[in-house]
């Protein structure tokens, strides 16, 4: 019985069979709490795939990308990734939710399939998995930049943090508190909220009570919008600082006027003062007739990164692709689809220039461009 099993696994791993297409399944959140980010990521990837296929695909092979929905549930995401692995994929795209990625990245690692994720939780790239690659900053990259901004930009001595009590939120909060301690800024109040929470009245009262110089908000899109509405309703005057999610397109749309005045660090944004990004934004809007958020860029650039690396090594070899991607820097001049120069380090984290932004009457305005951490 043991011999039979090894034969099955060997067949699956090599993917030797000659196919006309290269199989890159998208396993993503199309329902549940992560529906917003997931849909954006998928559409970004689909846009890139259509463009690449139009130009003949990668090494003369068209990309086929079957989609499956993880319902933002780790258990379901594990099953779907297992199913995708069974279809002998070259690369797996997604998911975005950190909780799901942590469940299924073990599978990709065992099957030696590179996984391009949109997740940002810090510990994903610290588990020594050589097959996981981010398409946006991990929390441990973006938090230092925010901390510097709070210390230097706002000159705040005390800060409060409001975060969503799930793996995404907790990871961000822990990293943020560490960075605050490093810059001896006192965290005067630490408010945990529920994923899917609807009533933030009490939390706002607590924040007002703490009266910190600045308030750092780290929650998912819908909760951020509800919080901002409640904050404006109770007349919070202190600056509200956030990460890419808080200044995302969806939050601005949901929170309406309440989003104005929110500042924060944005690793990826469709409003970035970069020509390629603006071009992407226009193409995306024409194709899917809705404004993309930062997850759209993640999906799009993720696919192009795979294309560039594969063309660099000249053949479809999963293990080699993973090795090549580590330490690789892709410039827009070499690969327009990458939009902004990006470097992947040894454990799969990505480093790019990033921006400080502020929401001004319903639009995200870039205030300052921050250099790559590496340079």
């Amino acid at each position: 019985m043991k011999m039979f099993l090894t034969a099955v696994l060997a067949l699956a791993a090599s993917g030797a069979a000659a196919q006309q297409t290269v199989n890159m399944p998208i396993v993503i959140e199309l329902s549940g709490a992560g529906a917003v980010s997931g849909t954006n990521f998928r559409d970004g990837a689909v846009l890139a795939i259509e463009e690449i296929n139009a130009k003949g695909g990668i090494l003369k092979r068209k990309i086929s990308a079957p989609q499956s929905d993880t319902q933002s549930n780790p258990g379901v995401s594990r099953a779907q990734v297992q199913k995708a692995i069974d279809s002998d994929p070259y690369v797996i795209l997604g998911p975005v939710f950190s909780g799901s990625v942590k469940v299924n990245m073990i599978l990709c690692q065992q099957a030696e399939v590179p996984q391009i994720t949109g997740a940002e939780a810090a510990d994903i790239t610290q588990a020594g998995n050589p097959y996981i690659f981010r398409t946006s900053f991990g929390q441990q990259m973006s938090m230092p930049k925010i901390a510097n901004y709070i210390r230097d930009g706002l000159k705040a001595r005390t800060v409060s943090v409001l975060w969503v009590n799930n793996d995404f939120g907790k990871g961000g909060r822990d990293t943020f508190v560490k960075e605050m301690a490093a810059r001896n800024i006192k965290v005067v109040s630490d408010v945990s909220t529920e994923s899917g929470q609807v009533d933030f009245a009490a939390d706002v009262v607590r924040l007002k009570g703490a009266n910190a110089d600045a308030i750092f908000v780290y929650t998912n899109e819908e909760e951020s919008a509800r919080f901002l509405r409640e904050a404006r309703k109770q007349g919070i005057s202190k600056p509200l600082i956030g990460e890419t999610t808080l200044l995302g397109q969806k939050v601005i749309e949901l929170a309406g006027a309440a989003a104005n005045g929110v500042k924060g660090h944005v690793g990826l944004t469709v409003d970035a003062p970069v020509a390629a990004v603006q071009a992407f934004r226009a193409k995306f809007q024409k194709r899917f007739n809705y404004l993309p958020d930062h997850n759209g860029i993640k999906g799009y650039t993720g696919v192009y990164a795979v294309k560039h690396a594969t063309e660099k090594i000249g053949k479809f070899d999963r293990r080699l692709l993973a090795k090549t991607l580590h330490g690789l820097t892709i410039k827009p001049e070499q690969e327009p689809g990458i939009l902004m120069e990006a470097t992947w380090d040894a454990n799969g984290d990505i480093d790019r220039i990033s921006f400080l932004a502020e929401v001004v009457d319903g639009k995200q305005k870039i205030v300052q461009t921050l250099p790559k951490l590496g340079k």
Binding site: P74, R78, A79, Q82, G99, I106, G171
Partner: protein
Amino acid sequence: MKKALALAVLALVVAAPFGLKPYGIYLLSLWAVMTIAAIGLNLTLGYAGQISLAQASFVGIGAYTAALLTTQGWPLGAAFALAALLCFVIGWLLGYPALRVAHHYLAFVTLAFATLVYLILRNEEWLTRGVYGISGIPRPTLLGWSTKAPLDFYFFCLGVLVLASAAAWWLLRSPWGRAFTALRENPIRASSLGIDTRRYTLMAFAIGSALGGIAGVLYAPLVQFIEPTAFTLGLSFNLLLMVIVGGAGRFAGPFLGAAVSVLLPEWLRFSEGLYLMIYAVFVIVLLAFCPSGLLGLAERLRDSWPRFFKSAT
């Protein structure tokens, strides 16, 4: 006739995984694990008539016990023992409200208990690593037989399922089984015949919960990464629907109910998001026409067309 049917199902279940890819094997293992938890719930709800929406919490407790122990090097056997004991005691305590209140109140109490357990699992980070969950849960090696590969682990789950079902079958065939049925049918009459309704109710809760715990101990190595959101009310509702759809108070109910709940989404995969809706409508229609589930339906068909069935078997 029943014995032949049981053996046929067993043979099918043993042969089934060979033709399948790891994803299919994963589904079958999940079916085996869920059936164990459903057998526990069927005992509490189907046989003793006490509704519990807390079965997911016991699966959670079992899973966390296994995860915490095996990641520290303890054998899975220790996890089985500890989880079963822990869930038995907690199940016993959870039984006390059942003695004081009518069914629907009990549903709320167990619902509240389940949500509380979820909060504890998520917030008590020192014990359960909170929202980060626990990863890298090893699969056991049993007397040299490593169950790391999906196929081996499936047979391991199947073995535990067979053991659990045998124990449940034996329990329900014993005087206890009769006492449970009496407790469900008519507690006042049962107590006048000397049946200590208090103790049997508590026992029903305790054993049902222990089986939930055992299912949890298997679930942890199956998915190798657990975090609190997997054990919320959704799972309790799912298990409840499994018992009801299969046929509460019937031995084979949980097996059939689990199969419908785990495998149905696959067959209806083509319908993308619709399968949950189809499943929900199916449950409502079933409850309206045949509250005793699919098995009840089968019995009703068999009774109403004796000629056809008699001649066929």
